[in-house]
């Protein structure tokens, strides 16, 4: 293998922090959700890369990734259901404006 592990990790870091940046700055909930996907993806890459480079005999990293993808799918589905529901009731999906359910 001719690409060092750090290259993969670098890509994953950038993706992760881009996700963090997006999650914090975005107001739209769907956009936040997308940032979340970025974060998850970067984590997935990390898992896979570490699995491949550190413990190539085993499959833990891959399975973690697999499960994360599953969970992410579930999470996204529920989140979008909620977002649409919220949108239906308040006609807005900006995270700042939805304060009613606080307190």
């Amino acid at each position: 293998m001719d690409i060092p592990m750090s290259f993969y990790l670098l890509v994953s870091f950038v993706m992760f922090f881009a996700g963090v940046f997006g999650f914090i700055t975005r107001k739209n909930m769907i956009a936040m959700l997308m940032s979340l996907e970025l974060i998850l993806n970067s984590v997935n890459i990390n898992f896979v890369v570490f699995n491949r480079f550190l413990f190539p005999e085993q499959m833990e990293g891959m399975f973690f990734t697999l499960f994360i993808i599953g969970v992410a799918a579930a999470e996204t589905a529920v989140a979008i259901a909620i977002i649409i529901n919220v949108f239906r009731s308040v006609n807005n999906i900006s995270a700042d404006d939805i304060q009613k359910m606080k307190y």
Binding site: S6, F13, V20, I30, F63, L66
Partner: protein
């Protein structure tokens, strides 16, 4: 490394890396939601490419089918449902943006620094052995060590719960309106 020794896989990696870097940054800064979704699509695709590169074919397939085929489609639909096409999102406040930028960049630099200075006991040269589907299936449905029946079932239940929850949430309001 010099130009001559560049291999095909390196080229592919750099392309993928470039797509991921650009895509993820664009995803989070693009002011149009649909554009962001498209950037995300590229990022996810490139991630799948990375999985291929690392010889996790099954994972790459799952990535493409679940993320791109499921999640992204769902996202796009919801974008259509909740916003006007071409609508631009609000610019975040400058303070918030700067602070977040600092945190993110700082985090990235910090991680990079750790990466550079840290000692990882890994081999640069690895053999990219293919994982066969049989082994994956065995691991998913076995109960031995390194086998994952329990999480598998947990995920199944979770998904079931999500289906039910999704339905409930989606229909909750209509009932009231009737």
């Amino acid at each position: 490394m010099d130009i001559a020794s560049i291999t095909a896989s390196q080229v592919i990696f750099f392309i993928l890396a470039a797509v991921i870097l650009a895509g993820s940054v664009m995803t989070v800064v693009s002011r149009k939601l649909l554009h962001a979704a498209v950037y995300l699509l590229f990022v996810l695709l490139a991630t799948a490419g990375i999985y291929f590169l690392l010889n996790y074919h099954f994972l790459a397939a799952v990535q493409i089918s679940v993320y791109i085929g499921g999640i992204l489609v769902l996202l796009v639909f919801s974008i259509y449902l909740t916003s006007q096409v071409g609508e631009k999102m609000d610019e975040p406040g400058i303070v918030k943006k700067t602070v977040t930028m600092l945190i993110s960049m700082g985090g990235a630099v910090f991680c990079f620094w750790v990466l550079c200075t840290g000692q990882f006991p890994y081999a640069d040269q690895i053999h990219l052995n293919e994982i066969d589907m049989h082994a994956i299936g065995q691991s998913l449905l076995g109960t031995e060590r390194y086998q994952y029946l329990l999480p598998f079932e947990a995920i199944s239940v979770l998904l079931l719960a999500c289906i039910i929850g999704g339905i409930l949430i989606a229909t909750g309001n209509t009932k009231k309106e009737d």
